[in-house]
Symmetry: C5
Subunit: 354 residues, 5 copies
């Protein structure tokens, strides 16, 4: 089940800037990889110690340092000290319960977003917090676990596809945000399919399971909304281009991401509308079915109870009719009763009550 | 059923500006037609190759290039290059999942709207994305399929009716937007009729089918709202006349379109209010009917169950009354039972339970 | 039933400014009346041809031209040409589906409002669109049919009561708007009475008819809201006094109208709150009654069904009790049964189930 | 029952500024009292004719003229003329259907608020409109009836308690407003108690009367909200100190009143939330109880109906068991039946169905 | 139960600035403690008389005066006089019904917040009002009772941990606010757990107790929202740094608290969404269960009532079958009846009806 809230109680009372990891520990050891590129050059390596990243800070090429695993306070502190990141920001990176936000410290930008994807079996939504530090010629990304959605970006850098190798660090940051936002559409697509399936089920044959599905969908939509809604503000601020770290030429690309974010939020709202409408339909169709059940009961009872009374009063015992041999009569009665019982069972089956 | 969301998952990870068509492919080959006119001249032709459009770019007359079919990346690219359209805009044109929006690139404006109309049999709402590029002396429109709502505009150009031949390209753009917005009223009119029909049905004889209709209406209203709501902003920006491409004299016409858009949105909201009120009425009338069913059951049971008990205790068998010949008694009982059963059936029919 | 939407589909595709009447044709021929007055003079007449109005345009006195019937394109066009009214405004006047709005063309103001009143038998709400052109020394009003709420204003002009004869055309426009807004209170008063009546009914004896009444009230409130809500903006803009056509001294009067409009809107919202609360109460009381019905059924069934079973098992036939003569026993049983049946009928009547 | 709307229909069509009283006439004759004070002096008197107030207008001391009863047009007019109050304001004072508002006419301020209190028996909420004119050295208050909440203020003036005797007229106006707002807390306290009582009742034993109470509470909250909500704006404008009539030193006191108003509005919203939540709880617990009723019915019916059938089929009449004397058998059966019936009655009583 | 409203009725009519305690009296005597520190020095003491605090006002070191117990007007007045606090502020401090707010009096800031925590047994939410006066080199805190969440801050000051000893009074104020806001997460964590537990219960086995739990959760969320929502504004104003009392370097820390507050509010909204969704699920599952109950009843009744009728009409008494000895027959019947009754009881148990 999606966690809508991450524990933070073990942090209460500590001085600000204390580096404590909040969230599940998803990898054993943090893994640090570096991609360094310019229009003509490219290198990629996985480093053993975090100190190996430091020389890249002052190189004119664009450097992308990616860190999978954010629970090791020591690594965080070293990076923080070398790249001049404020302790409160490091604290934010290690706390996976952040809502998407952006902070502008003249010499670097800090962005937190939620990367959302389906697990390998495509059955469950997973969310991972991605923090991004954009400096003048480097991007540092922090992820909760290994494996991410950024392979197409890496591929474009490696092969020099598109304009990425010719652009600066801000374009890399854009490319990463764009990939994350693009992936929201994949999630929405799956959700859309499930909503449509459920709509058909709702009309054809609502069951208590339908209710459970509606509830799950609602919860997932609440989760998505919470994770994506603040992104609108984040990208809007980036796009307005008040930071000197973001080139004017990147502005139009960020505007594109902004449009996509609005589209995603719009679709989430539409889905919420639809799902909450479904609950009403569900309730109405339960009432409808109950109505039908009651009608059958009432019709049967209303016809047979008075008849039984009259039969009782008149003492209408066919055994007194001498022309009827008792055994034939009982045989016939048993057959009639069998047919009625069998017919009723068939009828209830067709109505899906049994 | 109306698609509330268009698949975009096959695009994830590609560099920005990659031209990939998202949506159904509704025509086999793109069809390009050109209408070129001035106060005194007029020509109209369908071209074979997209290159035939290029000379019109620099002619002083107004040129309207219409492209039916947006899935051919090659055509899009050629037009983009010649008319100087940004690749991200071309990407937006080919992605039919856009929400209405407007972008201002000093030398051209880009507008996306949804053209909504009933299919030929008037049973289903269809939506098509129309993208519009407004240059200083040309308008390029991109549509998903052949056939559109613009024939009256074409006719007005051909015959020189109204002021269209005397005006510039911005007026043509206005005329096209106006036609699309005007058509929303046709949709609303049909919806209004259906809502009124349903209201009468709701009062006269609510059935489970009513519920289905309410659900369909709700969905259509969600769809319309999603398609039209952002248009308000789009036209408001156009009308404020910040772009040099839009003449002050066209402003008052755009204001008219703006008023219409507000009216459409207003009516959609009113319809939503009414439809959601109907669901409440529906639920209440189901409860009312159930109440009635239960009353009948309770009255019958409450009267006859104690009577049966008393009859049982007293053993009130009329066969012991010697004055009654058994055959007359049974005959009378059978007739009474028949009349009761028949009366019940009639009663339930009148109540519409059977 | 109140129309919440006016057909406009026959207008689609026509050039802007085409004068086509949208709405019911409520009078056969348009009727034009003129009231012309100054502090010392006064004349009133009904004219045969619209051209008779033209001389009044340049007279220094205040002229009020009232036109009942807006479906004659020819008359509209003549007035439009002579008084310099934009064709799009004429189009708006003839389309009775407008929402209240105000447009400022330096040399005249255009205002559309909804005049709402009960019909002669006080049973149905009627709405009429009133368009008002305010020039420097004239006011032109367009109404859908003869008969309006303006007679008190006419009377005040005729008799020189109040300050109206001493003021300019803007005060006349204010007086007309004020009359329309004042009349909304009459509508609200009637609605308030109906809501209070219904509340009492809801508590004393809810019936399916109550549901119908709630629905009707809801619809009327939706209609009123739609018709009046935008007026707030209209009068607020007028009152802010940005137009040179409106004297500063009229400002305080318009502010008064503004306050009234807010009060009307406020009351509509309160009524909506109350009516939607009533639906909940209604649903709850249906459930309550059903509960009661079910209790009676359950109590009766729970007591008598086991008793019947036991009686059946014991074969408790009083006929075996030799001391009882059969005829006395049966007589007593019949009387007991009759009393029970009669009592039940009385009980159900008191509960209003029968 | 609280009137949510005051009749105003008899005023339609009259010229603006016509002084007509709208509302109930709550006193026979208007009563005018004057309190005049400075740091050193104090006088208090009830005057016979309104003209006696006039000399106080130009005295340097602070004068508080209080008028109980607003239906006498003549008195209103005299005061209006002497103190220079605009006729539209006089009209507003006499119309008790105002919403709280503030108007600033450079040389005086006009404030309307609702004074709300419980009647003597503490069972019903009463609302009275209080209009307040603040001039440079006088305050005029208009009330609907005799008796108000201002006695503590009068006492403070008489005894020179607090700083009131040292301050100007604006402080007096503040003190009056403060008293009215403070009294809202008394109303909220009572409402809070009733809500808490009802919550307990809802859980312990919901009855149809609970529904009625919820409805009444809802209505009172709608009424309070309508009466108090606009006050926020009123006091906020006063406090911002744009009027020269309000001393800067009074600002902090008005800010205090503003905070209280926000607190009152906040609490009303919280109460609304709670009351509307209660309706849901109520509906759910009705459903719960119905569920229970149905279970009892179903269990009894499901066990005994088949048994009765089997008993009937087997003809299980114990009378055929020769060892049982009939009279013992019947005696035992009668006792068993009596015990069952008695037990059922007890059970239903405990469930509160009887 | 959480009080959503504090009595204030005994205060009505008193002059502003009258010091009256509103709320429960939670300690017998107010307790005053002082912590005074600089980078190099530190002292901590509990004082007997409030006058002992006065010398600290002008010492250059940072002084934190903490007062537990706010009902003693005398102490409040002495502090107010010495530290120059406005009487209205003292009144606010003593009234525990405040909503969070901030007021800026050039030489000191006044902040009210709600400290929320679980009681020792972790079963009930408790709220305490904390008022904070920030001067240039002192912080005065007022609490309702002894015992608070500030021990970690005290510890950090004592041990010189973190930067607190090097910073000024504004940082101390920040540290206290931060501690309070951090503790909201602990409350949310507990609430989150309860919501998740309830969700599982809702699906597995909804009972009337579930309804009670939903109601309690709803109430707690309303309470939290009311207590925390205004804090957003408070901290936002502090953070914008318009007061000279707040150092620019403290700004970034306050921004961090602001982010946390937003996160808390966000989570409360999410929880509200979830809890209100649960009520719908609950209602639906009650309806579902009722449906099931009715189906069982209907199936049983529909099969056996006609059979009983037929058996009655045919007089199908097996005693007439001579081959069956009566005692075997009755024995078999009794066994069959016992098995049916036993089976039914088991079935109802499994369905959790018994």
């Amino acid at each position: 089940m999606l966690k809508l809230f991450r524990r933070a109680s073990n942090k209460v009372g500590l001085p600000p800037g204390t580096l404590i990891h909040i969230g599940e520990e998803k990898v054993e050891r943090a893994k640090v990889t570096i991609i360094d590129y310019g229009e003509a050059q490219f290198q990629e390596k996985e480093v053993e110690t975090v100190e190996e990243c430091f020389p890249f800070k002052d190189k004119p090429t664009v450097t992308w340092i990616n860190i999978d695993g954010i629970h090791e306070a020591e690594i965080m502190e070293k990076i923080g000290t070398h790249f001049g990141i404020h302790p409160l920001i490091l604290e934010d990176i290690m706390n996976t319960g952040q809502r998407p936000k952006m902070e502008d410290f003249e010499d670097y930008l800090f962005v937190v977003v939620k990367m959302i994807y389906y697990d390998d079996k495509d059955t469950e939504i997973r969310a991972e917090q991605v923090s991004l530090i954009l400096g003048s010629n480097f991007v540092i990304t922090f992820q909760e676990r290994e494996g991410d959605l950024f392979d197409p970006v890496r591929e474009r850098i490696r092969r020099g596809k598109g304009r990425i190798r010719r652009m600066k660090a801000d374009y890399l940051a854009y490319a990463l945000l764009d990939t994350i936002v693009d992936h929201y559409f994949v999630i929405l697509e799956k959700l859309g399919e499930r909503i449509e399936d459920m709509e058909e089920e709702l009309i054809a044959n609502p069951t208590p399971g339908t209710l459970q599905t509606i509830h799950t969908l609602k919860r997932e939509l609440i989760f998505l909304r919470k994770s994506i809604w603040p992104l609108r503000e984040v990208i809007s601020v980036l796009e307005r281009g008040e930071s000197s770290l973001i080139d004017e030429s990147t502005g139009i690309y960020l505007r594109d991401v902004y449009d996509h974010t609005i589209q995603v939020i719009d679709t989430i709202e539409t889905f919420r509308d639809m799902v909450s409408g479904m609950l009403d339909i569900y309730l109405s169709s339960i009432s409808n079915r109950m109505n039908e059940v009651m009608k059958v009961l009432t019709i049967i009872a209303t016809i047979f109870i008075p008849l039984t009374f009259i039969a009782g009063v008149y003492g209408m015992n066919f055994k007194y009719i001498p022309e009827l041999e008792w055994h034939w009569g009982y045989g016939a009665a048993l057959i009639v009763m069998g047919i009625i019982a069998f017919g009723m069972v068939l009828y209830f089956r067709r109505k899906r009550w049994l």
